[in-house]
Structure formats: C-alpha cells, structure tokens
C-alpha cells in the first residue's frame, strides 16, 4: 500500500477551498497553512501559459525530513505517509531545512507540523479534507500500489510530473499536466 495524490493542473482554478478545508479540518492555527496554491505564468503577452497547483507535503518515499530527524519524531506511517510525532519532536527544525518544498512549519506549541494526508479521515475510509471539498474535482487520493485504483489509472493514462525530481526525494504528489 502506498498512498499518493494526483492533482490535475488542467482543472485546478486555484480557488483555495482545499486550503480552508485543511485549516478547519486539522485545526491549523491562524496564520499557518499546510497546503497552498502556486500559480506560474510564463511567456510574454499575448503568448502566455499558466499552471495552477495545489501544493502540500509530498510524502516523499526518500524523505529528507525523516532522514535528518535526530529523534525519529518524523517518521513513515503505513502507506508511506510522512508524519511528525509531536511528543518526540524537540523543535530543532532540521526537517524544515531539509524539505525542498517548504511544506513544514513550527506549530505555535513548539513542535513541527505539516500535512498528514488527513490520516485520521483516511483510516475511517474517507478522503482527505482537501480532496473531499475540491469543487473542480482536480484532486485524486488513493493507493498507487493498487493498479485498479483511480489514481493508478490516471497516472497510467495521463502525462504527469513531480516537483523537483532532481532533489531525489521521490515525491508522491503527482501533477497531471
């Protein structure tokens, strides 16, 4: 089992519903967010292209944050979800420095916090909050080890990319392009 997310950049309009859903679902403190929207525009008027992406922790298979954690607070859960155990975290912030995606932050309570793929929902058989609310249905969450899952089929059918593959982190958020 390997959880992953695919995000269809052709459909995402950057409405940020995923951001608010995450904040409310996970009690993210005010002024913080675990997911966010990036818009990239290239070219010169009128020859332009944009890409809109909903970004979050990539739950990398080769996660530098897990590797550099001195206490093991950052760890892999079943299904490859990268999590932080707050009562093992000393707040050294090495994992923040190690993350090329800037996906982590220091929670006001002191420990480091990030996207959990809404593991508490996934365990109940629900979708992560961001996926559940997306009005354009551009977020797909599932098990890429299961060849018949929607996400596996999409990744077979569509062209996709990951972010900063050259950093060697083997990210598990796929962007359909």
């Amino acid at each position: 089992m390997r959880y992953a997310m695919a995000i269809d950049t052709k459909k995402c309009v950057g409405c940020s519903d995923c951001v608010v859903a995450c904040q409310l679902e996970n009690d993210v403190p005010e002024g913080y967010c675990r997911d966010w929207i990036v818009e990239i525009t290239t070219g010169t008027y009128p020859d332009l292209q944009t890409e809109i992406r909903s970004e979050r922790c990539n739950h990398c298979a080769n996660a530098p944050c897990v590797r550099c954690c001195p206490t093991g607070a950052s760890h892999f859960e079943d299904g490859g979800i990268v999590l932080v155990q707050p009562n093992e975290c000393i707040g050294c912030k090495a994992c923040i420095a190690a993350c090329p995606y800037d996906a982590r932050y220091v929670h006001p309570d002191g420990y480091v916090d990030k996207c959990t793929f809404c593991l508490h929902r996934v365990k109940k058989g629900q979708q992560p909050a961001c996926v559940a609310v997306c009005p354009t249905k551009c977020l797909y969450f599932g098990d890429i080890d299961d060849p018949r899952s929607k996400i596996s089929l999409l990744l077979k059918k569509r062209k996709w990319k990951t972010l900063i593959p050259e950093a060697g982190t083997d990210p598990k958020i796929y962007y359909l392009i």
């Binding site: 950057g14 940020s16 951001v19 002024g31 913080y32 967010c33 966010w36 929207i37 990036v38 818009e39 990239i40 525009t41 290239t42 070219g43 010169t44 809109i52 530098p64 590797r67 550099c68 954690c69 001195p70 206490t71 093991g72 607070a73 707050p86 009562n87 093992e88 975290c89 000393i90 707040g91 050294c92 912030k93 090495a94 923040i96 420095a97 190690a98 993350c99 090329p100 800037d102 982590r104 932050y105 220091v106 309570d109 002191g110 420990y111 480091v112 972010l163 900063i164 050259e166 950093a167 060697g168 982190t169």
Partner: protein
C-alpha cells in the same frame, strides 16, 4: 517573464517569504563547536607528539575553557529549540542518518572527556591546587597515566566535532548553498584556525605563539583554497548551485563575505602573522582577534545564506 507566486496568501512564520528558522543561536553553536574542536585537537595532538611540557598553555591551560565553551554552545542550541521540554528525546535514540543526532552524541561524548582532560591538568596549572578527596586525586593520576589514550580519543572526537559543524548544514539537499561536501572540511579547518588563534591570543609563550602563527597561516591557506573550491564547485554545478554562488558574487552576501570574512578574517590576519614572523612589530592580539571574529562571521553568513538559497520549481 516567469511569474511564480503563491496565490493563497501563505505566510507561515519563519518559512515565508524567506526561510528563517535558524538565527544567531545555531551560528554561535556551530562556531563554538569548531573552536572547541580546535582547542582540544591541538592540546591532544601536542600530547601525542610529546610536547606537553614545551607548550603548556595550549596543552594544559586553554582546554580549561572547553567545557565552559561547550556549555555555552549547548545553551545556544537549547535556546534555538522550539519544543524545549522534549530536549531529552535526543538521547533516547541514535539515528545514524541524522547529522543532528551525530552531533548530539558527539557532544555527549566529548563533553565529559573534555572535563576529564581539564582535571588531569589541573594540578599542573595550579601548583597549590589539591583534590579534596584522595580517590579523586588517584582517579585523575590514573587518567594522566592514560593521557595518550585519551588524547587519541580526543583527536578523533574533535575532528568529528569540527567536521560535524559543517556536515550538519551540508546534509541539507534542499538548500543548495549548504549542499556541498566541502562545507565539512571548510568548517573543520576554520575551527582549527580559530583554535590556533585562541592560543595566539592568550598564550604568554612567544615560541608557542610563533608556532601557532605558522600553523594558522597554513590553515588559512587551506581555508582559502576550500573557499575557492566551494565557489568553483557551485559555478560548475546545476542552476540552483549557480544561483547559490551568485548570492556571493554580486548578490546580497557579496560585501560582508568577501570584505569581512575573506579579507579581514583570513587574508589580512595571515599577512599580519607573516609580517610578525618577519620581526615586524605587530601586536599578536590583532590577527588573532581578526581570525576569531572572521570565523564567527563565516558561520553567521553561511547559516543565513543557506536559508536564502532554494530550489526553484
């Protein structure tokens, strides 16, 4: 034109708009780590070379500062932690993949050893000093007998400590400016150089100062060589590495780095030390302070610049 913006208003404190998780605490911690590594390395090395009676200051006196300095360094590290009550978690597990874990355990090993090392030499330093208990006296006399063994351990540990201060940063693939294996050796040499400068600064023995002036000049030479290599490596690298180098070649770090670290912290003191050896009248305090100051500034700048360099995607 390429416009890359976060449109959902992300402003995570310390992350946006520029990463700023580590400030002076980590810089000071890394600096002190290097300095202590230098002090203990030279002390232990001279013992191994049977020069302990010739260069008493560097072997016996200066290491007294090591536990104190280490204490300050650890305090700085502690201040930086944001979840301080869980500090002890560092010592419940050894994680070989994590430089931070390595550092914590190295400090754990070197701290008591440096205390032991100080105690061994306490009676030599202060002739009137007496241990209150005979068993303590006996203990440290035994220790002194095995001083070569301890010196071997200290040489090894101080090299690891000095190297670690650089590797801690260079292990971060995510920050291109840090992500170069030359940072370990560079920080080690810089640490040794500041150690030598500390000896020059405080030693009353002219011969000792002259020796360490020579050593320091050689170390500075190596350091400059590493710095040139650092930038050559970056410029021959991928785009993000070139961008990292550009922070120092026209970017915001250009002036502080090349003027204060390289010119005033390395080249000029080396020159002054050279002139002093050539019998020019130069107070030995000046180059020593410059090296010590340059070493600190190097850490501050590297810690800061690494956080300013990132992958673009």
């Amino acid at each position: 034109m390429i416009e890359e913006i976060i449109t959902s208003g992300r402003m995570n404190p310390e992350i946006d708009p520029l990463l700023h998780i580590w400030g002076w605490e980590i810089s000071l911690y890394l600096y002190i780590g290097g300095l202590v590594a230098g002090i203990l390395f030279f002390s232990a090395l001279l013992v191994l070379l049977n020069k302990e009676d010739k260069f008493t200051f560097s072997v016996k006196m200066l290491p007294l500062s090591a536990p104190v300095l280490l204490g300050i360094g650890l305090l700085a590290l502690f201040l930086d932690l944001s979840h301080k009550l869980y500090f002890w978690r560092l010592y419940t597990i050894i994680r070989l993949n994590s430089p931070m874990s390595w550092g914590a355990w190295t400090l754990m090993a070197i701290f008591p050893l440096s205390v032991l090392w100080c105690c061994i030499w306490l009676k030599d330093n202060f002739t009137t000093f007496k241990w209150p208990y005979t068993w303590l006296d006996a203990l440290f006399e035994t220790g002194k007998k095995y001083r070569k063994l301890i010196a071997w351990m200290l040489v090894g540990l101080s090299l690891i400590l000095g190297m670690y201060t650089g590797i801690l940063l260079s292990a971060f693939n995510a920050r291109p400016f840090w992500n170069t294996s030359i940072l370990g050796p560079l920080f080690l040499v810089s640490g040794l150089s500041t150690g030598a400068a500390a000896i020059i600064l405080f030693s009353k023995n002219r011969q000792e100062r002259r020796l360490f002036s020579k050593v320091d000049m050689a170390l500075i030479g190596v350091e400059l060589f590493f710095i040139i290599h650092l930038f050559m490596g970056f410029l021959a690298g991928v785009r993000v590495h070139i961008q990292a180098a550009e922070l120092f070649l026209g970017g915001p770090y250009t002036a502080p780095f090349w003027i204060f670290v390289v010119s005033l912290g390395l080249i000029l003191p080396a020159l002054l030390e050279f002139l002093e050896l050539k019998q020019f009248k130069i107070p030995h305090v000046i180059p020593a302070v410059m090296v010590l100051f340059g070493g600190l500034l190097l850490r501050i700048i590297v810690v800061s610049a690494g956080q300013a360099s990132r992958w673009l995607y």
